[in-house]
């Protein structure tokens, strides 16, 4: 079973003359342990695709399946639950809460999901340590570099042990070296921890870390290339 499967995914914003087709019949699949980059010029629909896969938005037509379950059949609260437990999200701006330290930030989503805060922080601390932030657990975002803040955001995405990590321009706000560090971390998340990682980027340097690149153009898949054959 494929971890992610989209079938004829279509998203149209507006209606009538003002209708804009952001995504047009996109069918793709992602395996566990696979790192896929979605590339394309701005306005090609890559963020829309990511949002639909993540259940942040609903398609006009077609469907998304995560672990064999179709998101279209889910009620809003079921979808919210799936998002919290099976999907981790990473954004361009790390979206950390300024008054919370690294471990509190990374543990927050699972604490909100009903886990005891102490347990949530313990789980978060483990991911932070794996990502080289073991000595910065108590640091607040303003005491961390951009690259470190994004590492906290990746730890937060993984704290709930999701099967899928979605990253939307995760390096867009970072200098080259920190960006390399985050791309390499996402690769590690797929290779060492077996998660599926789908990343939207317009940066070829970052896309080159992936196993496979899907090219989008005008809302359609225009090409695909495998950079690394997986065993």
């Amino acid at each position: 079973m494929k971890l992610v499967r989209t079938e004829n995914l279509t998203k149209i914003y507006g209606s009538g003359d003002a209708a804009v087709t952001a995504l047009d019949n996109v069918s793709m699949e992602v395996d566990s342990g696979e790192f896929v980059a979605i590339m394309g010029p701005s306005g090609c629909g890559k963020s829309t695709l990511l949002h639909l896969i993540g259940g942040l938005d609903r398609p006009t037509d077609g469907k998304v399946e995560i672990e064999g379950v179709s998101l279209s059949d889910m009620k809003d609260d079921e979808l919210a639950r799936l998002r919290r437990t099976r999907i981790g999200l990473v954004f361009q701006f790390y979206n950390l809460i300024p008054v919370l330290n690294a471990v509190e930030n990374a543990g927050l989503p699972i604490a909100l999901d009903g886990k005891k805060y102490a347990e949530a922080k313990k789980q978060a601390a483990e991911w932070l340590s794996r990502f080289g932030l073991g000595d910065r657990l108590m640091s607040r975002p303003d005491q961390l570099s951009g690259g470190q803040q994004q590492r906290v955001a990746v730890a937060r995405a993984l704290a709930a042990e999701p099967a899928l990590v979605l990253a939307d321009e995760p390096t867009g706000n970072l200098d080259t070296r920190s960006a390399d560090g985050i791309a390499s971390l996402l690769r590690q998340v797929s290779k060492d921890f077996g998660r599926a990682v789908v990343m939207v980027t317009h940066d070829p340097r970052i896309a080159a870390y992936a196993d496979r690149i899907v090219f989008l153009k005008d809302g359609r898949i225009s090409d695909q290339t495998v950079l690394e054959t997986r065993e």
Binding site: P41, R205, Y209
Partner: protein
């Protein structure tokens, strides 16, 4: 040109013979596979440098054959080295092989330039993927020369990929332009017209 100065620089570090110089040069560039310099080139260069007064052959020890002596840097050599370090280096991107391919696709009409661009994009992304993996396999504490060279290669690949993006966006304008007619060149030495 840079081999010549690299050799002067290595002699500034310490006097060496030709054999030692060649090994030191290879170590400097991160291995002979990065920049292979033949022994003959080392000896001819040393010969020229000596004539120019930049290096000086120290008296060969007993039993050493001529040409195998140890060389040391001179004051003039140090001055030329300072001058070299003070100058920038041109980046060369004029006679680009892919550019010729792309231009030919437009001129001949035998291939869609957009697909020629996409083929090249995939080719470069694969190269970039491999370069990234190789760079990350080197030890930053012991193999810095390799890492720096791969960083450079990766950044050039990145620039080439960005150039493909821009070129793709410009294809429509470019297609509307009339093809440039070959120029009639009078015989004899052409007037110099440098691009950069």
């Amino acid at each position: 040109m840079s081999v010549r100065y690299a050799l002067i620089g290595l002699l500034a570090q310490q006097p060496r013979n030709g054999y030692e110089l060649r090994s030191a040069f290879e170590a400097l560039v991160g291995g002979g596979e990065n920049w292979d310099v033949k022994p003959a080139q080392v000896y001819t260069t040393l010969d020229r440098l000596e004539k120019a007064g930049f290096v000086k052959k120290q008296r060969a020890g007993k039993g050493e054959r001529s040409g195998k002596g140890t060389y040391a840097i001179t004051e003039a050599g140090r001055a030329s080295l300072r001058e070299w370090f003070g100058q920038g280096v041109d980046s060369k991107h004029v006679q680009d092989e892919f550019f010729v391919k792309l231009a030919s696709s437009m001129a001949s009409g035998e291939a869609d330039p957009a697909s020629v661009i996409q083929t090249q994009r995939v080719h470069l992304l694969r190269q970039l993927h491999d370069a990234t993996a190789i760079r990350d396999s080197f030890d930053p504490h012991a193999e810095m020369a390799q890492i720096l060279l791969l960083d450079k290669a990766m950044m050039h690949l990145e620039a080439d990929l960005r150039w493909l993006d821009i070129t793709e966006q410009r294809l429509d304008e470019v297609k509307k332009q009339p093809q440039r007619k070959p120029e009639f060149r009078p015989r004899g030495r052409p007037r110099k017209r440098s691009i950069v």
